[in-house]
Amino acid sequence: MGTVNFIWNLTKNYFTFGLIGLTVSDRYASIVPVGGISMSPTFNPHDDSSMRALTRDFVVVEKLCLEKFKFSLGDVVVFSSPTNHKEKNIKRITALPGDLVSTPHYDAVVIPEGHCWVEGDNQAWSLDSRSFGPIPLGLVRGRVTHVVWPPHRVAPFRQTLNCYLAICYILVTVHGFVALEQRTFRK
């Protein structure tokens, strides 16, 4: 009788813990590992293929932004890939609805309402909006706020890159305008 009771209590505790964990990770925040080098200067700066499992970065993803879906330029977001909804990607928002973007494939696009443009920080190794176009904001699953592992890189990183991003944004916008201008000129 004692063992049955013990097992019953154990399952009950596991169940409760699971419920609370799932709720917190859905509504408030969760910690996820970052794989791959598409965000390389920001996450996974030294990628050794032999030590990949050990040197992976872990980041805090907050979910409170999903109440309003208000994002600002330069937010790093986790979103489910538009080509495979089971896969999660992590990229930086570089343009919001109404902005103008120019790319090699689509030569100047205005981001439609409710969409955003995402790009990896490591432009050479990133599969992002430059290949699949703007993504709906509804695919976004959370915003990254901190790196929590490895210990020597623990830091909120948003402020450090804001300057770099402002420059990036200006460049992208100017580029877009130039491309649009050229297109109208060609007509």
Partner: protein
């Protein structure tokens, strides 16, 4: 001595309160998980699904397991996060899954011109039942599977329309 008595009284009360709030927290968590992963009631209205759903508002029971398990097929009525406004949800019917070829009227109120195209990988083609008053894949293009929130199972309200869809 009296102070000690007060303290012990207060302690037992605090313990009681913590236990009660823990119970409520557990209940809310259970509610959240059921609502997000099993089924939830949703109120929908609008003209886009007209013969199937009423204009004035229906309460539907939506289950969230089939999108997770990839059990959706053409003909299912689904709840989708609107691609042009992430705060809104819409109900539409799946016409084609990824890899299917769909054919649709480009502009039903003006011409009979048909367009056929192939749905890309990881996307679905959704359309409202009322093709004259529906904003769907014909304007927005194929929808990524990640936007699908659930499959509509039953109509709960109004009572005379109760039944599966």
């Amino acid at each position: 001595m009296r102070l000690f008595q007060y303290l012990s009284q207060w302690k037992s009360k605090a313990k009681d309160g913590i236990q009660q709030s823990l119970l409520i927290a557990k209940f809310l968590c259970l509610l959240h998980v059921t609502n997000n992963y099993v089924f939830s009631p949703v109120m929908v209205y609008g003209p886009s699904m007209l013969p199937t759903l009423n204009l004035t508002g229906d309460v539907l029971l939506v289950e969230h397991l089939s999108p997770l398990l990839d059990k959706l097929g053409p003909g299912d009525v689904i709840l989708v996060r609107s691609p042009d406004n992430p705060r809104k949800t819409v109900t539409k019917r799946i016409i084609g899954m990824e890899g299917d070829t769909v054919t649709f009227l480009a502009d039903p109120s003006r011409s009979d011109r048909y367009i056929s195209l192939k749905v890309p990988k990881g996307h679905v083609w959704i359309q409202g039942d009322n093709i004259f008053a529906s904003k769907d894949s014909r304007q927005l293009g194929p929808i990524p599977c990640g936007l699908i929130l659930g499959k509509v199972l039953y109509r709960v309200w109004p009572p005379e329309g109760f039944g599966s869809l």
